[in-house]
Amino acid sequence: MKKYALNDITLIQYIMMIHGSQLGFGLLALPADLANYAGMDGWISLIIGWLLAVIASLFIVQLMKKHPDDTVYDLLPRYFGKPLGAILNCCFILYFLFGFFITFIASIGFFKIEFLPNTPNFLMVLLFILPTYNLVRNNVRVLSRYAEITFWGFLWIFIVFMYPLKEAHWLNLLPVLRDGWQPVFQAVNTTCLSFLGFEIGLILHPFLKHKEHAVKGIVIGNLLTLIIYLGVILICFLFFSPDDITSYRFPTLKVLKIIEFRFMERIEIIVLVGYAFLIIRVWTHYLFAGAFGISRLLGKQDHKRYAAITLAIVLILSTYYKPSNIGLRSMLKIFGKLGWGFAFALPIILLVYTKVFAIFRKGAYR
């Protein structure tokens, strides 16, 4: 029974979707957050965080492997029975929708500050809903195509990031591990939020055409994210004084502010517009995962309607509820904590459960 046969995606598209779900807000705030805990050794924490993410990803693939045509929404009722499965599915749906909401609102707040500080919030939401719905109403295949083309199409952003290297101060990185390992481990917690997104693999797995490559795909997807984060963080660390980097909210952007070409100045504005193309992937993927879950839960084919309803709710919400920066940050933190649960811990628990389940069933059969 192949439920999702018409929608299969290639390995590269799978990689890009995993990577695209990850490369979000972390790109902007990560350097400051890392420096806050671990100083210039933050890059080590990042690599540790990546290792954790890869391990969790591998667990997810192991979990999905057994029933290759199931998404997590099909899997949970299979193991836990209908009512309990439905409740668990609801938890996942809420988690994905919360992920969508927080990344969406936080990014809009960010674009608002950078571009249109006086424009009312709901107008900004309106502006971003347009492309979001335009993407999310399609199926996985189109989403993956988008993830793929934007990766190739916006590689130039990372080339632009090379420009500030001419003012790099390599001495900033030394000494390595200046205050020992403890701050490094402390900072790992903050990297978790930046690597969140690989849990989209829970939904994507049945769509992948060659499932035997799933392990490779999810690792490469994480690796791409690591490379980009690492590059950006190193550039920020090299550019800013270690004593000052923590005073910036978004060091990644500040780095670009000094770029001026003869034909165009203030490159960071252009890069930010390009960044909108990248970050939209994060929340559309989450929204898709959520809306898709609702449609599965209700046994409907089409997820479009639920995505539209969610967006409408967000729009209405945005006219009344205007989170402050601090509110947003604490919400991002909560999401990070949830992420530990849903993306890191839950797959492991589920995997253990399925093993036990299998043994138990075997026993009962005998």
């Binding site: 500050i113 950078e114 571009f115 249109l116 500080p117 006086n118 424009t119 009312p120 107008l123 309106l126 502006l127 809903i129 347009l130 719905y133 109403r137 003012e167 101060h169 001495l171 900033n172 030394l174 000494p175 200046r178 800013f240 004084s241 270690p242 004593d243 000052d244 005073s247 952007l253 500040k254 502010k257 000094i258 001026e260 100045e265 203030r266 539209a308």
Partner: protein, 388 residues
């Protein structure tokens, strides 16, 4: 399908309804290109701004304005009440800072606005003015482009020829906040009919003007500070080592002078810490091309390359030592030795990081210079037939 397009249409219609909150037409803006901060005689903060005028009817193409105010943001309101357009700082080119302002405590926080508001730019050059900032704003040169453009260009080209540093706002903040170094800014002076770059102003950690380098010293400073000072050209006076560098050019007459361009450059700093004292061994290895040898002394020209190189080395070492010493005396570290201390002697650095200036004053800095003459140009040093 239909529904989506209907909703999209409705959304578009909704978009049309509200006004445009952040719109600012270019011609309505008064684009501040140069801003000046100074203290007047009564110790009031004086802020000046210069912006281009677009209107055809206007005779002057630039408008300058000076107001008394407590902050840059407050001054903008005053500008707006006088100028035709709405003042914006998105294209700021230069920030001029009066010498008197540098005496003030905590003046650096005046610039906070530029780091906080994303719309503002962070590339304007920061310049210390020897004299009153007002003089420059009132200056209307006939043979130069718009003054604000001229000054920016002047600084950039002076930097290209290694006559002074270029410090933009972002770099300035780094220099001010990094505990391992102190700031260095372009030093400018208004003379009779010209605005002249006079070298480099050196600030201490609190932003106070402590010392300044002449143009020649600035070149040496840049050679020392930057990793790759390609094309820097130095002029050395080779026969009278005891002579002071600050002698004005016109009193020197024709001397035995040698000038050369640096084509290749390597800097190595060794950091050591012993007995509560930092020691920096700075190794500078440079390959140079001789561009002129100005001498009527045949013996001088006949020297072998090794002698020649040694002479240049000794001379350079002396000069580098003198600029380092001057900084140490004033307890400032524009070279950024503190960053080496942090990188290589972190344990020793950590307790002294907050008073690095004093620590640096006691540090032992030794210059080891190695000059390698790559070529002498297309004329020989001396004719073999000559004086035989």
């Amino acid at each position: 399908m239909t529904r989506f397009y209907r909703i999209a249409l409705a959304v578009l219609a909704l978009l049309l309804l509200p006004g445009c909150y952040d719109q600012m037409n270019l011609e309505d803006a008064s684009i501040s290109l140069m801003i000046g901060l100074d203290m007047d005689a009564d110790n009031n903060l004086v802020i000046s701004s210069q912006s281009p005028v677009f209107y055809k009817e206007a005779r002057e193409k630039t408008e300058s304005i000076t107001v008394k105010s407590n902050s840059i943001r407050a001054s903008r309101n005053k500008f707006d009440s006088i100028l035709t357009g709405i003042t914006t700082g998105g294209k700021l080119q230069t920030v001029l800072i009066g010498k008197r302002l540098l005496e003030q405590q905590n003046w650096f926080s005046l610039l906070d606005l530029y780091y906080r508001v994303p719309k503002l730019t962070e590339t304007p050059r920061i310049v210390v003015v020897d004299g009153e900032v007002k003089d420059i704003f009132e200056f209307k040169p006939a043979d130069k482009p718009r003054l604000s453009l001229h000054i920016r260009k002047l600084i950039d080209t002076a930097h290209m020829t290694n006559n002074t540093v270029v410090t933009h706002l972002q770099e300035f903040r780094r220099q001010m906040k990094d505990k391992g170094m102190t700031a260095s800014l372009t030093y400018l002076k208004k003379e009779q009919n010209d605005v002249v770059v006079t070298g480099t102003a050196l600030l201490n950690k609190r932003g106070k003007l402590m010392e300044h380098f002449s143009i020649m010293e600035s070149t040496m400073f840049l050679v020392m500070q930057r990793q790759n000072p390609r094309g820097a050209s130095l002029i050395l006076n080779l026969d009278e080592p005891q002579e002071d560098q600050a002698v004005p050019d016109d009193q020197r007459g024709i001397r035995n002078e040698i000038s050369f361009d640096i084509v290749n450059f390597k800097k190595k700093v060794k950091t050591a810490y012993s007995n509560g004292k930092f020691r920096f061994d700075v190794g500078l290895k440079m390959s140079v091309i001789i561009t002129s040898i100005q001498s009527d002394n045949k013996e001088f020209a006949k020297q072998s390359q090794i002698q020649f190189q040694e002479k240049i080395q000794a001379n350079l070492e002396r000069q580098f030592d003198s600029i380092v010493e001057r900084c140490q005396k004033k307890a400032i570290d524009p070279f950024g030795f503190g960053r080496y201390a942090r990188a290589y002697q972190y344990k020793a650095w950590k307790p002294v990081q907050d008073e690095w200036g004093q620590t640096f004053a006691n540090a032992d800095v030794r210059m080891h210079i190695k000059v390698n003459i790559k070529n002498y140009g297309v004329t020989d040093l001396y004719s073999p037939l000559d004086g035989q």
